[in-house]
């Protein structure tokens, strides 16, 4: 990303910024939404259980995908030893807080709600291979183990990152998180040693995470989304799914970086150059998502095989068509033309509008992955109270988790922003001696 000179704040300054009080309004709104959503979902279980569970599924795909991809994005910054994101990446690290909750929701969906969501749970597939793959025990174990491992690995990664900052700062944060912070401080030693050790460990964790993320989300996308239509299969489906989640990370980061910049009053630290960098990546991922979407569509359209085209055609007829068009417009057309050039990526009004539009569009994309496969051709869009309530509920739950994290741990990557040793790890180093490996023979 941009090679530019940056303002380097002192540790005291960053520490003081990280402790600044911020508005609790969003956290309270999140709590209220979570409560409303929970009540609505419970009511829905009795009144319209299919709709409630199915609404939970597509919201889970959106929010769990976002959270998991967020941590993967953080890990990608370590793999590429990126420096441009140091001042903003903690805002994305907070996404990890939703992962354990997402695992619980997944467990509920694949056990209690399975028969309300997956048609094959009621009537076993006639194709032998599909029956084997979707065997209830195998399916449940596979999804829970895959997502569970990913959750554990992602929490471990963020733990190593947050620990570096907790270790050098005074005690601060929510009272319920004190135990976590004390545990992080245990055995915390020399700053340089800790930095090198953490960098080394994160390198290994990041690579394993990338593997698990890629294969894991392919499997989860096939299981929880593609198999809803038993007659459809696409080899690209998994990649297409998680690239959409990664796009959501960048657009949500564009919004959150601005919010935190205002809340913490740090325009000198999160500069327009940082916002431009995020905007550039959001634009690049928009293009890449558009490429994957079009690539998948074109191959299916040109091949014109009924077993594939019915999936696309269903989404282009009846009540689904307007939703599909809106989704494509919000996720690709609007950001692609709107974010060309430098100024729209920096101007908050435009960037936030486009980013929120893209997030809504991707949420709609998840809806369109799930609902048409379950409801088939229809002239009346199955979208109403249950979908809205469950969406708001999961959004609220996500917000509660996020703000709980951000109010418990340092809100900035203090060590990587201020340590005199922070750039030593930019070149390959011997983690034991902390010296660079000779650059050439």
């Amino acid at each position: 990303m941009s090679a530019h000179s940056v303002y380097v704040p002192t540790r005291e300054e960053v520490a003081q910024i990280a402790e600044r009080p911020v508005s609790g309004l969003l956290a309270r709104i999140s709590l209220a939404l979570g409560a409303i959503g929970l009540i609505a979902f419970v009511v829905g279980l009795f009144v319209s259980p299919d709709r409630a569970w199915r609404a939970l599924l597509y919201n889970w795909l959106f929010f769990a995908g976002l959270s998991s991809a967020g941590v993967m994005f953080v890990a990608s910054q370590r793999i590429t030893t990126a420096r441009w994101s140091r001042s903003t990446i903690r805002f994305v690290e907070g996404y990890v807080a939703f992962m354990p909750i997402a695992w619980v929701l997944l467990a509920l969906m694949v056990t209690v709600g399975r028969r309300h969501i997956f048609p094959w749970a009621i009537e076993a597939p006639t194709v032998r291979e599909k029956a084997i793959w979707l065997d209830p025990t195998f399916f449940t174990a596979r999804t829970l183990v895959t997502f569970g491992l990913l959750t554990a690995l992602q929490i471990w990664y963020i733990w190593t990152s947050v620990r570096l900052d907790v270790g050098i700062l005074n005690e601060w944060g929510t009272s319920w998180g004190k135990g976590f912070r004390e545990r992080m401080r245990r055995g915390f030693g020399d700053e340089r040693r800790e930095l090198h050790s953490a960098h080394s460990l994160q390198g290994k964790l990041a690579v394993w995470m990338a593997l698990l993320f890629g294969y894991g989300w392919c499997s989860l996308a096939f299981d929880l989304s593609m198999t809803l239509d038993l007659h459809f299969q696409s080899t690209l489906y998994g990649w297409w799914f998680f690239m959409g989640a990664l796009l959501c990370v960048l657009t949500s980061m564009a919004v959150l970086a601005r919010w935190w910049r205002n809340q913490l009053a740090i325009p000198h630290i999160i500069t327009d150059v940082n916002l431009h960098d995020i905007g550039k990546l959001a634009f690049a991922l928009t293009c890449f998502w558009g490429y994957l979407t079009f690539g998948q569509y074109l191959v299916i359209w040109y091949g014109n095989l009924g077993e594939e085209t019915h999936f696309m055609r269903l989404r282009l007829i009846g009540a689904w068509l307007p939703a599909t068009l809106v989704m494509v417009f919000l996720v690709f057309v609007f950001p692609f033309f709107g974010l060309m050039g430098k100024k729209p990526k920096i101007w908050s009004a435009i960037m936030v509008t486009i980013s929120i539009g893209s997030l809504i569009g991707m949420w709609l994309c998840r809806y369109l992955e799930v609902y048409p496969s379950l409801y088939g051709p229809t002239t009346l869009l199955p979208f109403g109270l249950w979908e809205i309530a469950v969406t708001l509920g999961v959004l609220g739950l996500w917000g509660v988790c996020y703000f709980a994290f951000m109010n418990t741990f340092p809100r900035l990557r203090v060590m990587l922003m201020t340590s005199p040793y922070r750039d030593e790890v930019q070149v390959p180093v011997n983690a034991r001696t902390m010296e660079p490996i000779p650059a050439h023979e």
Binding site: T80, W133, V427, P428
Partner: protein
Amino acid sequence: MAMRNYDEPVVDAALRRPNIASADIQLPAVRDYEQVDREIAGTLAPSFGWFGALGVAILLFLWGAGVWIYQIYWGLGNAGYAPPVMWGVYIITFVFWVGIGHAGTLISAILYLFRAGFRTTIYRCAEAMTVFAVMTAGLFPIIHIGRPWKFFWLIPYPNWRLIWPQFKSPLVWDVFAILTYLTISSTFLYVGLIPDIATLRDRERNPVRKQMLAVLSFGWRNSDSEWRHFTRAYLFLAAFSTPLVLSVHSVVSFDFAMALAPGWHTTIFPPYFVAGAIFSGIGMVFTIIIPIRKFFNLKHYVTLNHLDAAAKLCLFTSMVVGCAYLMEFWVAWYSGNEVEQNYFWNRVFGQWWWAAWIMLICNCVLPLSLFSQKLRRNTVWLFGLSLFINLGMWFERFVIVVPSLSHEFEPWQWTHYAPSWVDISLLVGSFGWFFMWFLLFIKQLPVVAISEIKEIVPPKMRHAHGHHGGAH
């Protein structure tokens, strides 16, 4: 800021500082601009080894050219086609060379946009490789059609017969995609060369050659204004080239994915072809750059850190390709489609097992060694691995092209295919053609970008106290 002694390079002090602006692209043994000019321009002097290598390349090329003439005279029947396998080594080799051409633009354009420092010393080599690889690839559709003088039928020019190319055919899309790619990658290579050509011009003593270089450098004077325009143009071309990296090999993949042959019609092909192309291109970059850094004494420019980073990219693309293989196998099984299942079984455990396992071992198993930092920094291993990657990626295209055609829907059509000596000769000749151009290039123009290296070498402090700024 405290001023340093005027003539003392600032490099040592910069390296010792904990916060190094360009820490990830440090060149500890490169101390000043004069050294950069001297050492990189010094690689242009011909040597016996170079003449020997060029001689071998020209011989291979001439052999290939002679065999092509033989094929034109005696007909396409001399190639190893066995109906319905009417796409064989020529199409395989076409896709192989287009793939090789991919890494150049990835390294020069996409990594430039990401400000990835490790590209600096290898991108020129990769860009040149791209242009020559695409030139090589472009030969094969012409060879494949058997009557090369009819090739112009693919070009959509208005003509009196009112016959137009079939625009619905991915083969015509190929013509557009590859010509666009060749145009942009050549322009990108040339624009990046302009400041370096000017450096060579300034060092040149032969007046004729100096005049030629002056023309080629467009009279570059190294002014602020020129640099400003240059960097703008370079950034624009990088941004313009980036979508081409995706589009070209996606379009090549459509040659297969649009058809309804088993193993071909699959949605993952576009990104999978792109990832495979980048993987094979990086393999070829290693094949080229490792001997160059050894024989041209450029080890302190193309450092182990650069190779280490490129090896990580190679590992990543290998794993993407491996994931795509797995997706194909899994969906073939999950679909319950017997034709697809039989096809993949035949590919891996049946008729073509040897080709599939060469592919899997070279592309997925051997690159796993790059998880070891020691092996990533071992040039002998990297070079050997790169040869296996080249082999594996050629066989990947073999495995895509031949088994699908030899094992289609109707069992009575199932057949065998074996390349003839004509096929093999033209394949070998293509390597001769490619390396002939590349070897000629590296003795005419710098294989490492002088101007970009200078951007990361700390300048001498030219002036006394009170006059900030270094030589630019």
